[in-house]
């Protein structure tokens, strides 16, 4: 399992959660600007699992169809980031982003675009935060929207066929009185995971070392 390869201490895990928390907060701020409403994203819960386990975890929590906004990234880390949420919430999310003014027909046309943009904002914020803290550049691909279920979303390998680690985040969205839930998954290769681990160690050293 991943834990054999990527061993995160309790503090490193806390640090990872906070790094992601910073990213998610930036994402919430960006979304707020975008939709002009109060947007809150909850403190994320983070796990590092295998792709297979990620499929199981997601499958247990979501038994219906899912939508995923996917973006590949390269630079300080390389891999694929996905914003995943239940298909049933997809229109509501699009509505929240697009506003109440437009008609349902128009919304249906805009749905894909709205989802791609939302995903782009959230994923970009999370990844950019990490890259910033590593002080290394990161480039991201154009977002694509895919539909599927828990097992199919993780079936396509990032590169080669290794069962690489997945950074699996649970977050809840609250956009303008709508409660939506979603997941962020970042499939990374091993070098990226090691870079991340170094980042976390540095973060801890600064925070704990400084104040003690």
């Amino acid at each position: 399992m991943v834990s054999d390869v990527i061993e995160l201490s309790e503090l490193e895990h806390d640090a990872l959660t906070e790094v992601v928390n910073i990213g998610v907060s930036r994402a919430a701020a960006s979304l707020r600007k975008m939709v002009g409403h109060q947007v809150l994203l909850s403190v994320p819960a983070v796990e590092i699992v295998t792709r297979q386990k990620a499929g199981v975890l997601l499958g247990e929590r979501e038994s219906n169809g899912l939508v995923a906004v996917e973006q590949n990234f390269s630079g300080a880390f390389a891999g694929r980031a996905m914003l995943i949420f239940p298909q049933a919430h997809s229109l509501a999310l699009a509505r929240a982003v697009a506003g109440d003014e437009i008609s349902n027909e128009e919304l249906a046309d805009l749905e894909q675009e709205a989802l791609a943009e939302t995903g782009n904002v959230i994923l970009n914020s999370c990844l950019a935060t990490m890259a910033n803290m590593l002080k290394r550049p990161l480039t991201m691909s154009i977002p694509t929207v895919n539909k599927g279920d828990a097992s199919t979303l993780f079936s396509e390998p990032v590169k080669d066929d290794e069962d690489g680690p997945v950074l699996f985040l649970y977050i809840n969205f609250s956009i303008h009185q709508r409660d939506l839930r979603g997941y962020i998954a970042m499939m990374m290769d091993m070098p990226s995971m090691h870079s991340l681990k170094d980042l976390l160690a540095e973060f801890i050293r600064q925070v704990v070392g400084d104040q003690e």
């Binding site: 806390d14 701020a29 403190v43 247990e60 803290m133 925070v207 704990v208």
Partner: protein, 705 residues
């Protein structure tokens, strides 16, 4: 147990905003209309009022204190309660403290974790939600839940980090107790509002189902683990009025597919908004008790059947035992009678024989006819005693390896002649039949006997089928037993009148016959039975009235495959008149007299003894002279065999002829004649005795040469 909705409440209530009313150059109040104040005094009094109001609301919210961390100025402000908790002078806390004070009261084991979380806030994270321990000014450890939030300036830079502390010591204790109760007792809890697609569950709940730990799961995820035919663990459409009834539900664990039984209990709680209900319940594993219960129920349900079966089995065994004991008793009785009869018949037959040869051609024709009739009658009686001995399994057998198919071929003509023209004879044999080891003459007798029985049952017309087949060990025999070794099965089937079950049960008993008086002796099947049993085999009859009968013989497969079918060579009988000395030992006076007279007439020198001891002393006395020992087997005192052994010690080359109507195991080994021993069955004729004596004397001469 904190869940996501708890996390919201902190930010929604936004207590930190009120703290912004502090009399400093901080951010402006967010309330719509800040009161316009005439004087500083007025300001102070209004501030006092607002603080008072804030305290009341914080108290009502259960807050143990609140803080405001000014990021740009690097100052920390605590309210009175939090200052008291930290043991800091409220005036100092109000004036502003070093930000490191925030961590001062935090329990050391939790401090680093909180430092990291705060660092996240200072670097741009928005929400702060942590549970940790603090050590209060009076050295008490208490659990607090911190709900904080970061505020950003127009440029998006973190500006203030403020929040409240809630004392959750009591709740934490209850939660710990609940958690331990759940894991120690293996009890998982759930909370479900009917109609909702998700359900709140405990970690133990997930563990019992083999799911990954989660606080909230879709109802379908849980219900799809339930085995077919069981009610769902959580009913989506449950009626509001109903309670959660106890039920046992079979599930297939999500992680390893193992089948388990879970019990579900719970209550309906009516406190949901709008008067609805929540179902709060528990599940726990009852697989083991369910298994025991099922096994017990099954045992109970089948008790009567099992008792009946046991009784039936026992009755069957008792019946078989009774039958076997009866056959054994009858066998002993008939064997005993046959033995005595043989002695009598030997005397009768021998004397009639002698009388006839003495009479020659010169005598009265009527006397000759009378003697001939007497001899015929005695011979028939002799045949009868042979059959009785056969049944009682005491006939000497000379087993040989037999190819049954060849034996049947050889018998075909004899059998079809016996059956007559109107009965069709069919022979069905499979190729590669195993060889058996049995006495071929007796086997032929048995087959012929069965064929004749079949013919009689068919009343002159029908089909008689002879079948031979291999029965490997392990196959089921018609008797219901499993074959313990390889057998060759030989069956004779007729299409005759069949037998009633009662007749089948008694068919092997001697003198039991279904034939008309005078038509059968009732000994045919008894003989076959005795022969098969003595040969280590078995016999079985199946019959249906008006349909026919099949008799199956099971003969053990011979150890060696090669069969010896060479015909027995009967040595030519040539009565000689030599002068060898023969010692005759026989306790029955009449039999001895007959034998002695026969031998004397043949020209032998005869000495005689009435018992073993007498014979032995004669042998010692006249050792040189005695060339042959003829002895009875069963005698009081020294038996024939003991005598023979003693005689052979004196003279190892002395030939010995046993004469017996009842050899039993004195000379039989496994029902066979011992090698090197000659046996003459009683009753015997003068000719038979003459032939045997000559044969032995000639053999011993050739051995000596």
């Amino acid at each position: 147990m904190p869940n996501s909705s708890d996390r919201w409440s902190a930010t929604r209530s936004k207590p930190a905003r009120v703290l912004q009313f502090r009399n400093r150059d901080g951010p402006k109040a967010v309330t719509a209309e800040p009161p316009s104040l005439a004087s500083t005094d007025d300001k102070h009094s209004l501030l006092g009022q607002l603080r008072e109001r804030l305290n009341i609301s914080l108290l009502a919210a259960g807050a143990a204190g609140s803080w405001d961390w000014d990021i740009s100025r690097n100052q920390l402000y605590l309210d009175d309660r939090m200052a008291a908790l930290y043991g800091i002078d409220p005036a100092e806390a109000d004036a502003g403290l070093a930000t490191s004070i925030f961590f001062k009261a935090i329990y050391p084991g939790d401090a680093n974790r909180i430092r990291i979380a705060v660092a996240g806030l200072l670097h741009g994270a928005e929400l702060f939600f942590k549970t940790y321990r603090i050590i209060t000014s009076d050295d008490q450890v208490c659990w607090v839940e911190a709900h904080g939030r970061c505020h950003f300036d127009a440029a998006g830079r973190p500006e203030r980090f403020s929040g409240i502390l809630v004392d959750v010591t009591e709740r934490h204790r209850v939660e710990e107790r609940l958690r331990i109760a759940q894991s120690a007792g293996g009890i998982g809890t759930f909370e479900h509002i009917p109609g909702h697609a998700t359900v709140m569950v405990s970690h133990e709940f997930c563990r019992l189902l083999g799911l990954n730990s989660a606080d909230v799961l879709p109802v379908v995820t849980i219900n799809r683990l339930v085995k077919e035919g069981c009610p769902p663990l959580l009913e989506m459409g449950r009626q509001q009025g109903e309670d959660l009834t106890y039920s046992e539900i079979g599930v297939r664990r999500a992680d390893n597919g193992e089948e388990r039984w879970l019990a579900r209990r719970g209550e309906a709680v009516r406190d949901v908004e709008g008067g609805g209900v929540r179902f709060i319940g528990v599940i726990y594993d009852v697989t083991e008790s369910k298994r025991v219960e099922d096994a017990l129920r099954h045992l109970n349900d089948t008790l009567e059947q099992r008792v009946e079966r046991e009784i039936a089995e026992r009755l069957q065994i008792e019946e078989a035992l009774r039958q076997a004991q009866k056959m054994e008793a009858v066998g002993q009785l008939t064997g005993g009678i046959a033995h005595d009869f043989n002695n009598l018949l030997t005397v009768i037959l021998g004397n009639v024989d002698m009388a006839r040869s003495r009479l020659g051609n010169s005598g009265d024709e009527r006397i000759e006819r009378a003697l001939a009739n007497a001899q015929k009658g005695a011979e028939r009686a002799s045949a009868l005693t042979q059959r009785l001995l056969a049944f009682s399994r005491r006939q000497p057998l000379a087993p040989k390896k037999i190819l049954v198919s060849r034996l049947l071929q050889g018998m075909a003509e004899l059998i079809s002649r016996s059956l007559g023209e109107t009965v069709i004879l069919k022979t069905e044999t499979t190729p590669d039949l195993w060889t058996v080891e049995a006495d071929p003459n007796q086997l032929e007798n048995a087959i012929l006997n069965l064929a004749v029985n079949g013919r009689d049952a068919m009343d002159g017309s029908g089909t008689l089928t002879l079948t031979a087949a291999n029965i490997p060990s392990g196959e089921l025999l018609p008797s219901g037993e499993i074959a313990s070794r390889d057998y060759l099965m030989l069956s004779v089937t007729d299409t005759g009148s069949g037998m009633s079950q009662e007749a089948v049960d008694r068919a092997f008993e001697p003198f039991f016959t279904t034939k008309e008086v005078g038509k059968g002796t009732g000994l045919g099947l008894s003989m076959v039975y005795g022969f098969v049993k003595q040969s280590g085999g078995d016999i079985h009859i199946s019959s249906r009235l008006r349909e026919g009968t099949t008799v199956c013989l099971y003969l053990p497969r011979a150890g060696d495959a090669s069969a010896d079918l060479s015909d027995q060579i009967i040595p030519g009988e040539q009565p000689s008149s030599l002068n060898e000395t023969v010692l005759v030992v026989e306790d029955d006076e009449d039999v001895r007299q007959f034998a002695v007279e026969c031998l004397l007439e043949l020209g032998y020198q005869v000495i005689q003894a009435a018992g073993g001891r007498e014979a032995l002393s004669l042998l010692i006395e006249r050792q040189e002279d005695v060339q042959l020992l003829v002895t009875d087997v069963v005698m009081p005192g020294l038996s024939g065999r003991q005598l023979a052994e003693a005689a052979q010690q004196l003279n190892p080359s002395l030939p010995i002829l046993y004469v017996s109507g009842y050899p039993r195991d004195v000379i039989l080994q496994d029902g066979r004649v011992k090698e090197g021993v000659e046996l003459l069955s009683k009753p015997f004729t003068q000719q038979a005795l003459a032939a045997k004596v000559r044969e032995l004397l000639d053999q011993s001469v050739s051995v000596e040469v």
